[in-house]
Symmetry: C2
Subunit: 328 residues, 2 copies
């Protein structure tokens, strides 16, 4: 699947996106918990994109892409591939604009996320799990429909849209000196970095990545994109690799990518459920896990965190929590 909008986005693109999507997105709350601050040794500002429409920040980028289309483009519909939140977000954005959405979904996608795409009225086309099969099926659907491809992250419209969450956060909580977002394909992280540095170039921006999907960490160290690995992590939203558009932005703006293992992620997720009373998915807990694993780096600072999403199958919870038993 090739990117559609290939010009690199900038801070102005984030501002444009913010104005474009304002009628459709929730200005999600920024929440705090003193007990978590005490545990972390710093001041945490959580931007609650789990409370965003469709249950994740992905709705911002999807909205910006879908509402950027001309009427002629839009009429042919939008095509994407996703096993998760991006598909649901595109489905909802297209329903709001009143145009068709087709999502190419690997057969092993989670039932809960598939149900969300269907509930928002998307047409689902199944492929095999391999990237080759997903790309082939996507190309076939594009041929058949003449629709517009909206890539989950390697798309300037999507990157700019994802940056609007961080834009709201740094405006809401002045003085934030560190910002942490999970990193997968890099759409959220690169958009967040553009938004943060457009407001204040001194903000240190970090990516938070699971050990089992550490391509972004290694790409930054190597200075070139690491690709072709197989991800192994409980964070089902963080299994993609940096794209051609997102890697340069991450390289320029991101101070470091910090790694944590799955048990640390689930322990942080449990803290967010218990102390913040927020339903977040594992991927959304990676930044807090990073803070807890690097106390010296964040001690006493004002730290912004993007809580990226809340789409988790409640029936899977006991298995998740079993990965990080509570101290007794």
């Amino acid at each position: 699947m090739q990117p559609h909008a290939t010009h690199a986005p900038d801070f102005d693109a984030v501002l444009t996106a913010a104005a474009r999507i304002a009628p459709h997105v929730h200005a999600t709350p920024v929440l705090h918990a003193r007990t978590l601050n005490a545990i972390a040794g710093c001041e945490l500002h959580f931007k609650c994109e789990n409370l965003q429409r469709s249950g994740s920040f992905k709705f911002r980028g999807a909205c910006n892409a879908v509402f950027s289309l001309t009427n002629a483009e839009a009429a042919r519909g939008v095509v994407t591939q996703s096993s998760g939140n991006h598909g649901g977000a595109i489905a909802l954005a297209c329903r709001i604009r009143g145009i068709p959405a087709t999502v190419v979904v690997p057969r092993n996608a989670s039932r809960a996320k598939l149900a969300a795409m269907e509930a928002y009225g998307a047409r689902i086309v199944f492929s095999e799990a391999s990237q080759a099969s997903r790309d082939e099926t996507t190309a076939t659907v594009l041929d058949e429909t003449g629709g517009v491809l909206v890539h989950p992250f390697n798309d300037a419209r999507v990157i700019a849209g994802q940056g609007t969450a961080a834009l709201e956060l740094v405006r809401h909580s002045p003085g934030i000196d560190a910002l942490i977002a999970p990193v997968s394909g890099g759409g959220l992280l690169s958009g967040s970095a553009l938004a943060a540095h457009g407001n204040d170039p001194a903000i240190e921006v970090f990516g938070a990545e699971p050990e089992g999907a550490r391509d972004a960490h290694d790409s930054l160290r190597l200075g070139e994109r690491v690709t072709g690995r197989t991800a192994d992590t409980v964070c089902d939203g963080l299994r993609a690799e940096l794209g051609t558009l997102t890697f340069p932005i991450v390289s320029e703006h991101v101070r470091d990518i910090l790694l944590v293992d799955d048990a640390q992620v689930i322990a942080a997720m449990r803290l967010l459920w218990e102390r913040m009373k927020l339903v977040v998915e594992p991927s959304a807990a990676v930044p807090l896990a990073v803070v807890l694993a690097n106390p010296a780096r964040f001690a006493g600072r004002r730290v912004g965190i993007i809580l990226s999403g809340g789409n988790v199958d409640l029936d899977a919870l006991p298995a998740l929590f079993a990965m990080a038993p509570r101290p007794s």
Copy 2:
């Protein structure tokens, strides 16, 4: 345990409480979800007291009581009895004021709620589960310490404090024409009714009660307090009976008490977790369950709901959800 502050509170008392506790409480967000509105057939405004400090609305009443004390009274400390959220709330309010708190707790109290009281620095004194044993132990502690009793609901300062959540809600969401709060001892419901009717006497105020603890429903029908029953419900926050102070306020201000069974409560709780991404305890889901069980009554209306708390033991979730299997 007899009430300490026995004068009936009024709307002015709610206003006074709001100003008194403002430095200490969170002005919790009011959240919405279009998908839930579509399911319910009305416009739902959720006041998120699960995001309140100590994890429930109880912190408002506790703060108002604790910060109403003179320095001389406060110095002797506060005594209360609680198996749950009120104990944690009193513990936190006393820690903030810097005075001792003692909570008389029945031996069968939940581990999670006990841990919260201890974490906030309260002294725990165990009693047997019977009300007689709890009262006897409380009297002994009061004798020993010379402390001030703050009853969980039958206390004018507590009632006024609990009303501040509804005050914030009706001011945040003008035009609400129905307000629903869970009812147990009636502190939240009577305070909410005072707050709502102080703003707009036309607002219909409803109590939401589990079938297995329907004393408030029956008391309203009979015109006198029903007491001495044994509650049987999964809603561990709703097992008390109306008090001498709360019953007259409920009788005057509340349009009706609506009943739902435990399976309906857990199904509504699951919706709040899945659609709102909010961790709420069973007791907090009773108002939504009531809306879903009475569609004609609320159709097309603007309905305010107090999400009363979020203190639930995550390890107990599978057992809770098993009570209301999802439709397959």
